[in-house]
Symmetry: C2
Subunit: 369 residues, 2 copies
C-alpha cells in the first residue's frame, strides 16, 4: 500500500426510498457511496466527487485485499489535493450504472427480476438529484466543493445549476456543457456494437451478456481516451509482446485486452444508459449556456487538457466564457499533459496544485453558508 | 449528368498472369481498371490515380445508368485538374480489394472456390507492383504523374521508391509514410468488429457475410473521416429526421445508414486485407524515411488538411522534411478546409488549383524521360 493512503475503505449502500426522475417516472433509490475524512461539527467541509462513465464510488483508498486503490487515489487522501485531514469527501456511484446504485441490474419489485432494459432513462440531472438525496441522508446541506472530470464534470456543472445555494466551489475537468456530434457519434458506435451482438436480446440478456459488443464499445472508447502522442509512446508500431495472437500490433492487442477485461466489470445495459445520459445532457452553448448559468452562486475552477481531443479545450472555454458573462468567479487552466482525455485521472503536479490552491483560496463569490 | 463530365466510362479487366508478392507467394493477377483521355504518341502523358481504402477503379465519368459519377470526378475530366484533354488517366482497383482486382473474392484455381481468408497477405508494395504490371500491359513505361490520397498517397509514395526511374511527378494527399499507433488502433477495432461477428467463421463466411461487424467497422471509420466541425455543421445535436428509430440522434442514424449501405458494396475479408496493408506500410520516419527516399527522382506535391485529425498534418510534414533532406523538389500545402480526412475527396478550388499548377509547372527535377 502506498504512503499517504487512506488505507482500507469500503463501499456502503444507502436505501433512500424512491426517486422521481425528470421524466416523471419513479424508481427505487439505492446509492453506493464511500466517504473519506471527517465531517466537521458545523458540516461545512463536505466535498462531493463525481465519477466518469466507467467509474464508481470507490474513488480512493483500498478495498480489503485489493492491490489497486480507488480511481482517484492520487488526488484524494491525507495531505493530497482533496486533503482528507481537512475535508469530508463523498463519492457515489451514478444511478443507471452498475456499481451498486440503482440501475438496470436493480431488481424490479414488480417482477422480482432485474429491470434490465425496462429501467427508465436516467439523465445527468437525475444523477445529481440522487446525490442530493444521499447528502440529505448524510446530513449535509452545503457542499464546500463538487468536483469531477468528463461525465463527472457534467454532474458538477449540473449541481451548480440545480442547487445553486448548496455548492460553494465547483471543479470541472476535461468536460463540456454538452456533447458535440462527434462525441455522440463515438458513443453511438459503442451502443450499436452492443445492440449488434447476438446476445443482446433487447437488453434482456440475463446471464448471457453481449460481451463481444460491449468489448468493442470499450475498445472504441479507449482509443478516444488516449492521445495520438501517448499511444505512440506506449505502443508505436510494435508487434504484440509474447504469444498474444489476437492482433499483429501491440496497440491492437492492448485494446483487445482492455475490451475483454471491461466486460467482467461492467454491464452492457448500463453502458447504454450512461452513454445516453452523457449524450442527452445539454446546458447549451453561447447565449443559452450563459442564461442557464445565470443563477449559479459557486466559484469555478475549469481545467482542460491540450492533448484531449475527445473533450477539446474549446468546450471548456465555452463554459468559462458563459461564466464570465455572468461575472461568476472562474479560474481556467489549460494543462499541457500528453495523456489525452485520461489526463485528468492521472497524477500530474499541475492539476494537484491547481485543485489544492483553488480549495484553499479565499472565496471571491458573495456566498454565505 | 454534369457538364464537363467524361460521359460514359466502363471498368475493364486485365488478365496479367501471376504476380509474385513481396512475401514470395504467387497469385493469379487480374486488375480492374479504367482509362480516361488518350495516350500520346510518345506515351509521356500517363497519370496513375491510386484510390483509398474503400475506393475502386471507377474514378471519373459515369457508368451506364448510374446516377453518381466516379469517386474523383470533380478532379478528373476535360478541363479539370487532371485534364483528360491533355493526360491519359489510369485508375485501377487495388489487389486484396473487392472491386474486380484479385483478392479474397477471386476463385482459387486449386479449389474452384473463392480464396476468402486463404488469400495471401498483400502489401502496399504489392499493390504498386500489380499496377506496374498493368502499365506494362497498357504499354506505358513512364508515368507523367502518380497521385492519390490516404492509402492512395501511400501507393504514390511507394511508386517513387520502388520505381524511381518511372515516376516524374508525385501527388500525395492527406497521407503518411506510416500509420501511427492511433491509426492502427482504429483499423484494429474495425477488424475486431468483423471477427466478432458470429458469421465471421474465420473468413469462410461464403454467402452469409459478417454484415453487422463490417457495418460497425465502417461506422468507426466514418467518424474518423469527418471532422468535429463538419459533424457539428451537418448534424449538431439534432434528432434523426423522419421515422428513423435506429438512433436518438441524427448523427447516429447517419452512421447506421452508412454502415448498413457499406456492407452491400464491400467484402469483409477485403476490409481486413486492405486495412492490414495500410497498417503494415512503413517507409519509416525521420532519418529512416530520408534514407528510403534518397533514390527518388520524382518531384512532389504534398497536400495536408488542417481539419484532418486521422492523418494529421505533421505526418505530411515528415515526408516533406525527408524529401528536403534529399534535395528533392517538393511543394507542400496545408489547406484549411473543414471536411476532415475526406477533404481530399471533395471539390475545393485550392486543391484543384494546386494540382493543376503542379502538373503544368516546369520540372525542377533533373529527370530525363
Amino acid at each position: 500500500m502506498k504512503s499517504k493512503s487512506l488505507g482500507i475503505v469500503e463501499t456502503k449502500i444507502a436505501k433512500l426510498g424512491n426517486l422521481v426522475l425528470e421524466s416523471g417516472v419513479s424508481i427505487p433509490l439505492e446509492i453506493a457511496y464511500e466517504t473519506y475524512g471527517t465531517l466537521s461539527p458545523n458540516k461545512d467541509n463536505a466535498i462531493l466527487i463525481c465519477h466518469a462513465l466507467s467509474g464508481d464510488a470507490h474513488a480512493a483508498g483500498y478495498h480489503i485485499n485489493a492491490e489497486r486503490p480507488g480511481w482517484w487515489d492520487e488526488y484524494i487522501g491525507p495531505d493530497k489535493a482533496f486533503d482528507t485531514n481537512k475535508y469530508f469527501v463523498v463519492c457515489s456511484n451514478v444511478i443507471g450504472g452498475c456499481k451498486g446504485s440503482s440501475g438496470p441490474l436493480t431488481i424490479n419489485p414488480a417482477t422480482g427480476k432485474p429491470f434490465a432494459s425496462s429501467f427508465p432513462f436516467v439523465s445527468i440531472g437525475d444523477m445529481v438529484n440522487s446525490q442530493k438525496k444521499l447528502l440529505d441522508y448524510l446530513g449535509i446541506s452545503q457542499l464546500f466543493c463538487v468536483a469531477g472530470g468528463s461525465m463527472g464534470g457534467m454532474q458538477a456543472l449540473q449541481w451548480t445549476v440545480a442547487y445553486p445555494e448548496v455548492v460553494r466551489k465547483c471543479i470541472v475537468l476535461a468536460s463540456t456543457s454538452e456533447h458535440s456530434a462527434q462525441q455522440i457519434a463515438f458513443n453511438e458506435v459503442g451502443r450499436q456494437a452492443i445492440m449488434s451482438d447476438p446476445n443482446w436480446n433487447n437488453g434482456n440478456y440475463g446471464n448471457n451478456p453481449p460481451k463481444k459488443g460491449l468489448a468493442l464499445a470499450r475498445m472504441v472508447g479507449h482509443i478516444t481516451y488516449l492521445s495520438d502522442e501517448s499511444m505512440r509512446e506506449k505502443f508505436g508500431r510494435n508487434p504484440p509482446r509474447g504469444n498474444i495472437q489476437n492482433s499483429e500490433f501491440a496497440v491492437g492487442s492492448y485494446l483487445v485486452y482492455q475490451g475483454e477485461s471491461f466486460v467482467d466489470r461492467f454491464d452492457a445495459n448500463s453502458y447504454i444508459y450512461v452513454t445516453k445520459a452523457l449524450d442527452h445532457f445539454s446546458l447549451g452553448k453561447g447565449k443559452e449556456l450563459s442564461q442557464r448559468l445565470s443563477k449559479v452562486r459557486s466559484e469555478f475552477l475549469i481545467i482542460a487538457y491540450s492533448s484531449d481531443w475527445l473533450y477539446p479545450v474549446y468546450q471548456s472555454r465555452e463554459i468559462v466564457k458563459a461564466l464570465e458573462v455572468n461575472a461568476v468567479p472562474v479560474s481556467f487552466c489549460e494543462i499541457n499533459f500528453p495523456k489525452g482525455h485520461d489526463s485528468f485521472l492521472i497524477y500530474n503536479p499541475e492539476q494537484e496544485h491547481l485543485i489544492r490552491h483553488f480549495l484553499t483560496s479565499e472565496f471571491r463569490q458573495n456566498f454565505s453558508i
